[in-house]
């Protein structure tokens, strides 16, 4: 009898894609609402987007149980911060907190691929992109999840960001207007659902600007 290996995994991939785009005075965060496992759909109506602070929203794809646990953790830490400092956490501060939280579990990671979007203290849009163990970077736009390989090249082409290594430091945010950015996100998800089996059902778009947070939905392919 050949040597038997343990074949239970603590992780599962629930699929899905998320995107965030930063503008001069707004930030668009979007994710599809399909939750799946293997070849089956668990639900067509699951929100992957979570509001962490007044001006800070996170979208995560990957293993939703870990995502849920991560969101709870961050919400608790945010509450503590509010008690101690008598104010909401800014987006860059939350970004650092998320990075530290993820690295804390470096050797049993949260199987969660995150994009954080919001407005910084000056009201300009900012997007932070993460890997599963907390490496992060401030960028002008990003996508994560099963459809990210399909979405990212298109965003690179339409929103090409100058390299952050160039001097003088150039603005990463896109000069597009808010409506155009939302339009771009809708096109990108419609295209991704054509070719990625894990992306589809419905698209949830969250827009943060000076007026507050606005939520919008769009139907995607259901097959």
């Amino acid at each position: 009898m050949p040597k038997q290996q343990a074949n239970w995994s603590p992780y599962d991939n629930n699929g899905g894609s998320c995107v965030a785009i930063a503008g001069a005075d707004y930030c668009v965060i979007a994710a599809d609402t399909r939750m799946s496992t293997g070849y089956n759909i668990l639900t067509r109506d699951y929100s992957k987007i979570c509001k962490l602070a007044d001006k800070c929203v996170m979208a995560s794809s990957g293993f939703q149980a870990d995502v849920k646990a991560l969101q709870k953790h961050l919400a608790a830490r945010h509450l503590i911060y509010q008690h101690q400092h008598n104010k909401q956490m800014s987006c860059p501060a939350m970004a650092q907190l998320l990075s530290n939280t993820l690295y804390y579990k470096r050797f049993f990671p949260y199987y969660s691929f995150n994009v954080l979007g919001g407005l910084d203290n000056e009201g300009k849009g900012c997007v932070f992109t993460y890997d599963a163990v907390g490496s992060y970077e401030k960028v002008g736009y990003s996508s994560q999840g099963s459809g990210s390989t399909l979405i990212m090249p298109f965003l690179d082409n339409q929103l090409k960001s100058p390299s952050p290594l160039l001097l003088p430091v150039q603005d990463a945010v896109t000069p597009l207007a808010e409506a155009e950015a939302v339009d771009l996100v809708k096109t990108v998800f419609a295209s991704a659902s054509e070719r990625d089996i894990y992306t589809g059902d419905k698209l949830e778009i969250v827009v943060i600007n000076a007026d507050g947070i606005r939520r919008e939905y769009m139907d995607l392919r259901k097959d």
Partner: protein, 344 residues
């Protein structure tokens, strides 16, 4: 001729060599063409009951050396010192797999295919999505394959396998029709397919739903990759088979009319399309009756593109040129003027 030096590893090889000796016409003193030898060997091996014909064929060919033949290209195969099949590449594949380099994935049709028998004949249905892992590689492929004017076959599994096996059996059926002068029967196609698939012990990954109408009546069969078959009044295969079968089990009854049958098949395929991630896009239907067949390609298209930007997108024409540096090529070839043209 070096046949005599063949390594007689097994009794089967001895039989092949005997055949070759017979073929060498004693009246014409001419050596056997290498191609002839290969054909004889292949025929012998294909008809052999044993299954490791790979061992036989390689063992025999490697031991043969075709030397000094006119107008034959030098196709001498490297002879391993021990003779027999060379498993070096298997070891290499194992080593690569351990290092994390996996073999390329094949295009599978994560699929929903169905068939049912109705009043006047058989109805086949299929979705149209072909996947390569999690990516859709073809949004509108054809999964209902032609076998004979009165027989069609839906295929699930590896796309190349289903295409190849249905094409091959379709040709064999046509030859058989010429030979017998009669319309093909579904059981003929069934036997040809199951013999082929069993011979390959499940490595030809084709799961088929075969349906047709012949002189003996309407028939519907399922064929599994290992070669087993079932004869059924309604059948589903593919990754979406459970979703489709759920619909069939609740709503199927005997003696359906044509329209009822088409509706039920469409519903079953739609169930696969919407609930199985490996199936999607459109519904193909094929109705076969004694009178003839009706291939309804894209009978239903329930998944249009959800959003198209009215203004469209422009793509910058080329990548940025950062630096241009031209290095002229050095002439390495000497041009000989007035040399002899192509020596004989």
């Amino acid at each position: 001729m070096a046949v005599e030096q063949a390594n007689l590893c097994t009794p089967q090889d001895a039989a092949v060599v005997r055949t070759l000796r017979v073929f060498r016409d004693p009246h014409v003193d001419r050596e056997l063409e290498p191609a002839t030898v290969l054909i004889i060997i292949t025929k012998h091996v294909m008809s052999s009951p044993s299954l490791n014909f790979q061992t036989q064929i390689s063992g025999l060919i490697l031991s043969l050396s075709f030397s000094g033949q006119r107008n034959m290209s030098n196709s001498v195969i490297e002879v391993p010192p021990k003779g027999g099949f060379s498993f070096d590449l298997c070891k290499r594949n194992e080593m690569l797999a351990k290092k994390g380099v996996n073999p390329p994935s094949f295009r599978k049709t994560g699929t929903t295919i169905v068939g049912l028998v109705f009043q006047d004949g058989v109805i086949l249905g299929a979705d149209t999505r072909a996947t390569e892992g999690p990516i859709v590689c073809d949004k509108n492929c054809e999964k209902i394959h032609y076998m004979a004017p009165n027989i069609y076959c839906c295929g699930a599994g590896t796309a190349a396998d289903t295409e190849a096996v249905t094409d091959m059996v379709s040709s064999q059926l046509q030859l058989h029709r010429y030979h017998t002068g009669r319309e093909s029967r579904v059981v003929t196609a069934l036997t040809l397919l199951k013999r082929h698939l069993f011979n390959y012990q499940g490595h030809v990954s084709a799961a088929l739903v075969l349906g047709g109408v012949d002189v003996t009546g309407p028939h519907l069969h399922t064929i599994y990759p290992h070669g087993s078959t079932d004869t059924l009044p309604f059948a589903t295969m593919g990754s979406g088979s459970l979703a489709a079968m759920a619909v069939f089990e609740s709503k199927y009854k005997e003696g359906l009319t044509r329209n009822e049958g088409i509706e039920l098949v469409t519903e079953a395929i739609c169930s696969g399309i919407f609930n199985d991630l490996g199936s999607g896009s459109n519904v193909d239907v094929c109705v076969i009756t004694k009178g003839g067949k009706e291939y309804l390609r894209n009978h239903l298209q329930p998944n249009p593109r959800t959003y198209t930007n009215s203004k469209g997108y422009s793509f910058p024409k080329k990548t940025e040129v950062l630096l241009t540096k031209i290095i002229p090529l050095k002439e390495k070839v000497e041009i000989i003027e007035g040399g002899d043209a192509m020596e004989e």
